[in-house]
């Protein structure tokens, strides 16, 4: 081994740089040990400790001390020192701004009017939503499986800050014409919606949009939805007590551009419904309460009541492909839904006409379906229910499971009519007819089972309402815009079959 020590007067680098240089040189071929350092007392001590013999120096000298293998080239090692000392980095663009890691961090980068949309797994949704509320922002929580106690805590805190919690399990909102989650693209107007139900809200959006277009063609502007604020399916339960509904009503009441508010919800807790009616009465803006339940109006009737309050007659709700439909091919009705509220609405109507309906979201516990979704009875299945979305995407995004059940229902000789829904809009799959139309055609290939579809969408939706409808009609379906209308049609077909059989 041989040592090479040299002093470089006037050379300077900070100690950290030099430690790094030393490390780089140590890795060079033939180098046993290397220390490049300013000749301070401490460094000289270290160098002497390593066994180097250092000539007289001042702290302003740079010491290059190398210990090399006998056959190593000193010049090569010094070249390694020079290379390590040379500045290597050109000025570079700013690559140091990483995306935000929390909702709170993201909101620090946006303006005060920003809305947060939370769709992380339910176990983490509350934490993200709290970030938004703490920063004074409204939040929509699409996530489901959020414990009710957390929902109450979120909404209690939001109320103290005048913020709005849309959700948890809120599928749909439209704010100033911007659709969040699963939402239809609608013509702006002067109606406000408060919805404890995503697909219920979407049905209203679609119907009011259609009516508005119809009226506009006849010179009446202004029928359309300005905001649709979701509140989550549990908001009007006794546990939650309607906190978000109250805040949403307050917002819409304060908005000078809202003439009428409509509230749509699955059946609320009676005491909450009572309090809600009182709150609604106290507002300056008229409120139409569209609370679903036995003996209550269907969503289409609610839309018609809204139109009536604005002084308009309801249009004829469109139906296409009625010619496709022959008589029922069996005694049983099979409803296969992606929208929970649409399934509910159809069950309520069907129960009155046909008696009890078996379902995975039954109207009473004794009617619950187990794992088997196809039984020897009238059945209606909500494929958007939590139990059927575990480990897979919502059927509005991935229709595989429903299409499988469609084939099974068609193969059952007892099946008389198949009732389906299809929901368009932001967030839904880009071309839903591409998979559903062939599935319908296949279902009708053996025998012409009536397939009645409620197609919930608008002509502004990204999927194209007309194209989707035409594809379904071409596959043999009868397509309604109103789910109530579609359901009535299906019930009528079953009733006729029973009449004929009798």
């Amino acid at each position: 081994m041989k040592d090479h020590v040299e002093l470089r007067s006037g050379a300077y680098a900070d100690s950290v740089t030099l430690l790094q240089v030393s490390r780089a040189v140590q890795a060079a071929p033939g180098v046993v040990a290397a220390q490049v350092a300013m000749a301070t007392g401490l460094n000289l001590e270290v160098l002497e400790g390593m066994g180097f013999d250092i000539p007289e120096s001042s702290p302003n000298d740079m010491v290059v001390a190398l210990r090399l293998d006998d056959d190593a080239d000193v010049a090569t090692a010094l070249a390694a020192v020079d290379a390590a000392l040379a500045p290597t980095r050109p000025a570079s663009g700013d690559t140091t701004v990483a995306p935000p890691r929390t909702t709170g961090s993201a909101l620090r980068r946006t303006g005060p009017g920003a809305v947060a949309l939370v769709s992380v797994p339910g176990a983490s949704a509350t934490v993200e939503a709290m970030d938004a509320l703490e920063a004074g922002h409204d939040v929509m929580v699409f996530s489901d499986n959020v414990p009710v106690a957390e929902e109450v805590a979120l909404k209690t805190y939001a109320a103290s800050r005048g913020a709005l919690v849309m959700g948890p399990d809120c599928g749909t909102a439209v704010i100033d014409g911007v659709g969040l989650g699963f939402a239809n693209a609608v013509r702006p107007g002067r109606i406000g919606i408060v919805a404890a139900s995503g697909t219920g809200c979407q049905q209203l959006l679609a119907l009011l949009h259609h009516a508005g277009a119809d009226l506009a063609a006849r010179g009446h502007d202004g029928v359309g939805v300005r905001h649709a604020l979701g509140v989550g399916g549990r908001d009007l339960s006794a546990a939650v007590g309607g906190t978000s509904t109250r805040e949403a009503l307050r917002r819409l009441d304060a908005d000078a551009d809202v003439d009428l508010v409509v509230v749509v919800s699955k059946p609320p807790a009676p005491e909450v419904a009572e309090a809600l009616a009182k709150d609604a009465d106290a507002l300056d803006t008229p409120v139409e309460l569209g609370l679903l339940g036995r003996g209550q109006r269907d969503l289409t009737a609610v839309a018609e009541a809204v139109l009536a309050r604005l002084g308009h007659e309801a249009p004829q709700w469109p139906v296409h492909g009625a010619d496709n439909t022959g008589g029922a091919t069996g005694p049983l009705l099979r409803g296969l839904f992606v929208g929970g509220t649409l399934c509910d609405e159809s069950m309520l109507m069907a129960t009155e006409a046909l008696g009890p309906i078996r379902s995975n979201i039954p109207l009473s516990d004794d009617l619950a379906l187990g794992d088997e979704l196809l039984v020897d009875d009238h059945t209606m299945v909500d494929f958007g229910d939590d139990a059927l979305t575990q480990g897979r995407a919502h059927p509005m995004i991935d229709p595989t499971l429903r299409n499988e059940q469609l084939a099974r229902a068609a193969a059952d000789p007892q099946t008389g009519v198949i009732l389906l829904d299809l929901v368009l809009g932001h967030g839904a799959e880009p071309d839903p007819a591409a998979l559903l139309a062939p599935a319908i055609a296949a279902a009708r290939a053996e025998r012409a089972i009536p397939v009645v579809v409620s197609l919930v969408g608008t002509d502004l939706d990204p999927q194209g309402l007309d194209a989707t409808r035409d594809a379904l009609v071409a596959a043999g379906a009868e397509v309604h815009l109103s789910n109530a209308s579609a359901t009535r049609r299906a019930l009528d077909l079953i009733a006729r079959f029973e009449g004929a059989a009798r």
Partner: protein
């Protein structure tokens, strides 16, 4: 309702759908939290006390101005008795103490005259009969590296004038073979004796003789704009302190007992030790953080400290409880032919600087030392920005010019650490693992991840 911008967290398709409507979208790069923390995170998030508690803790911390009011022996200002030893980090006993802590204790015992030869102190500490160990933090003090404080050591005394609260720290010995890195050779003890006999009294005379007490918080504000991050680089701060104190040090010559040679030696000592100011930065940070302690419901970390074996944190909402895990070995550069095997695990109370939002958290302002672990200037900017993800506030006084004078990320939030998995970045020196060796390098280190879920669980328990 106003024009809408949407922040999305979760499914990308919803962000795409909003962007498709020509609306501004800020996407959160969300990842699952640290394993098993979801339930506690939700509990703490919905603790109704938390938002206000954190605001209270942050405001209290940011409201503190630390003034240098005195220099005096630990026996006087801390009531430290012979045989009592303070040390860095959470509580620890001799049998679990690391090499550098043992070395510093042995040197400290010799300094106090409990033994003649530091080596003899091993038996003394093993018996444990006439000696006791206690964390600096339990006495309103902080100590760099081993942080050993003995009764005769002179301490900086910092005060928050608004509340009268005080914190303390020993005087910095310099680099290399020094007590705080676990060295206890004769030269170490000789230097400490000089510091006790000359430097301490001179500084006391200077501080007491300076009409306007030094505003340590203010010096920190300035040094952060002069390339110091106040943990591994204290060069500008040291010079500003020297500027404040040297007139009165020279002025003390009139009264004696020190002569010009003493003053000259003291000035040279301070000026020759770029880390001299660290021992003022640390108690200034502690003074601020102590004001944020004991706010029920607050998730703010008020201390991070290491004893060479354990890394511990204390949190505002959980009082004096320490949450500890194994201290890590820093990654960095080594002096001479020392290597990673020679380094002890992380040690020292100096992570109080990061706890207060400087040190590693202010890396962006100290580009001169970014190469500590082969880092680059962009890395430094990214580090400071990343720390904003886990902190509650920006310090309006401590700003970083290169980041458009954004305040340093201040007030580590236990919940944000658990949510993001981002660990506090600490700049540190490395002590040799064998007692007596001294410093072997410097680098970067993080706390053990597990201590944050532990603290979170205690916060959740307190919230239920």
């Amino acid at each position: 309702m106003t024009e809408t911008t949407v922040v999305t967290v979760g499914a990308d398709m919803f962000a795409d759908s909003v962007a498709g409507q020509a609306v501004g979208v800020e996407r959160v790069d969300w990842r699952p939290p640290m394993p098993g923390t979801e339930r506690d995170l939700a509990t703490v998030a919905t603790d109704p006390r938390r938002p206000e508690a954190n605001r209270t803790a942050v405001e209290a911390m940011l409201g503190v101005t630390a003034h240098l009011v005195d220099v005096a022996p630990a026996s006087e200002v801390l009531g430290l008795e012979p045989g009592q030893f303070l040390h860095a980090g959470p509580p620890i006993e001799w049998d679990r103490a690391s090499g550098p802590l043992r070395g510093a204790l042995m040197g400290g015992a010799a300094l106090e005259g409990l033994v003649d030869d530091p080596e003899d102190a091993v038996a003394l500490f093993e018996s444990g009969s006439s000696v006791s160990l206690e964390p600096c933090h339990h006495r309103s003090a902080v100590g760099p590296m081993a942080g050993v404080v003995t009764p005769s050591m002179w301490m900086w005394v910092l005060e928050d004038r608004a509340t009268g609260r005080r914190t303390y720290c020993s005087l910095n010995e310099g680099l290399g073979k020094v007590l705080r890195y676990g060295a206890y050779g004769p030269e170490v003890l000789t230097r400490l004796r000089w510091m006790g006999d000359v430097l301490g009294p001179l500084l006391q005379a200077a501080v007491r003789g300076t009409a306007e007490a030094s505003d340590v918080t203010g010096i920190l504000t300035q040094m952060l704009q002069m390339g110091d991050e106040a943990h591994n680089r204290n060069r500008a701060g040291t010079l500003m302190l020297l500027r404040d104190l040297s007139p009165a040090m020279v002025g003390s010559l009139e009264k004696g007992p020190f002569d010009a040679k003493d003053v000259s030696e003291a000035l040279r000592f301070i000026g020759g030790n770029d880390h001299f100011f660290l021992n003022l930065a640390m108690p200034a940070c502690k003074l601020a953080l102590d004001a944020g302690r004991d706010v029920p419901g607050s998730t703010m970390v008020v201390a991070m400290a290491r004893n060479g074996t354990d890394f511990g944190i204390q949190v505002s909402g959980t009082g004096d409880q320490w949450f500890t895990g194994p201290a890590q070995v820093a990654e960095g550069l080594f002096l001479g032919d020392y290597g990673p095997d020679d380094a002890n695990a992380d040690i020292g109370d100096s992570a109080i600087t990061e706890t207060a939002g400087i040190g590693g958290f202010a890396m962006a302002t100290a580009p001169a030392i970014v190469r500590l672990v082969g880092g680059t200037v962009p890395d430094a900017l990214a580090t400071t920005r990343r720390m904003h993800e886990i902190t509650l506030a920006e310090n309006p006084r401590w700003s970083v010019p290169v980041l458009e004078f954004q305040g340093t990320p201040t007030g580590i939030d236990v919940t944000k650490v658990c949510r993001t998995g981002i660990l506090p970045q600490i700049n540190t020196g490395m002590a040799g693992r064998v007692a007596g060796v001294g410093q072997v390098g410097a680098g970067l280190v993080t706390p053990p991840a597990e201590i944050f879920p532990k603290a979170l669980a205690a916060l959740a328990e307190a919230a239920r």
